[in-house]
Symmetry: C2
Subunit: 135 residues, 2 copies
DNA sequence: CCCCTTTTTAGAATTATTCTAATTTAGTTA
DNA sequence: TAACTAAATTAGAATAATTCTAAAAAGGGG
């Protein structure tokens, strides 16, 4: 069942499966809104804001979710990261689209060559505008 | 001369060439440190912090510089963007390496196909760790 | 060299995020 | 299943990066 899957996800990453974490992870998995801590708090109002921040930090630390903090609203947005993907941001609307139709292996290899590091992950954001916008 | 080049860069982007903007742009072009507003203010202490923030915002708006705000220090870092490039971040040290050995055209095309948008730019950050770190 | 708009500035204000320290809980062990 | 303990949660205060305000200064077109 879903609850068991959520527990497994948390525990396999070394995190205790608390009510709050299960709720927040479920929220992120079932919403495509790339929410902020505050947005989550509005919907999960029984969970303290401090816990929402703490939990999001933990989920980021273990790689279950990622942060998008390049929007112009000066807030961190969070995104469930079940499968690697990149983001396309509509600069006109600030809408974030998830996409995965690109193989990052060549980019990883280029980065390895340029830096000598062992590559562990990536954040890619592509910016665009509606094509029918004149000029 | 350098000063004239800086004026041209600013004016060709529709920005008045003030002493403060020339100083800050010169600072960004001659430092590889990906500085924060505060770091710039330490070195250019005659310029008010508000102006440094204002100027950085303007330079970002017109595309002369870009923001990196994914480091864990909760501060925005800025980078002169004379030529398109991507960033490799050493997660152990938070060092940022600029690299350009990757052709983004296929990625742009993938993003266009996925979103239908006219692609205008990108931010790519690749994360890595020193290869000699055991484990 | 005016004039007018834009820019700069100091300091106050804002607010997202972090911290604190006391309470509760998950989950392991007996 | 009861006890235990390290980890998690919480309310509220604190922090600090960034933004705002409104008054003074300056760029550059004419």
């Amino acid at each position: 069942m879903v609850d068991q899957t959520l527990r497994d996800i948390l525990q396999s990453h070394g995190l205790k499966a608390t009510f709050q974490r299960l709720s927040i992870l479920d929220y992120l998995m079932t919403h495509e809104t790339h929410p902020t801590a505050e947005m989550i708090h509005v919907d999960l109002s029984s969970i303290s804001l401090a816990t929402i921040y703490n939990t999001l930090d933990k989920l980021v630390d273990v790689g279950i979710i990622i942060v998008i903090d390049t929007l112009k609203d000066d807030k961190r947005h969070y995104d469930y990261y079940g499968e690697p993907h990149y983001h396309i941001i509509n600069s006109s609307t600030n809408e974030i689209i998830d996409a995965d139709n690109f193989d990052v292996a060549p980019l990883f290899e280029a980065a390895r060559q340029a830096s000598g590091l062992n590559i562990t992950g990536f954040h890619i954001e592509i910016y665009g505008v509606d094509p029918d916008q004149a000029k």
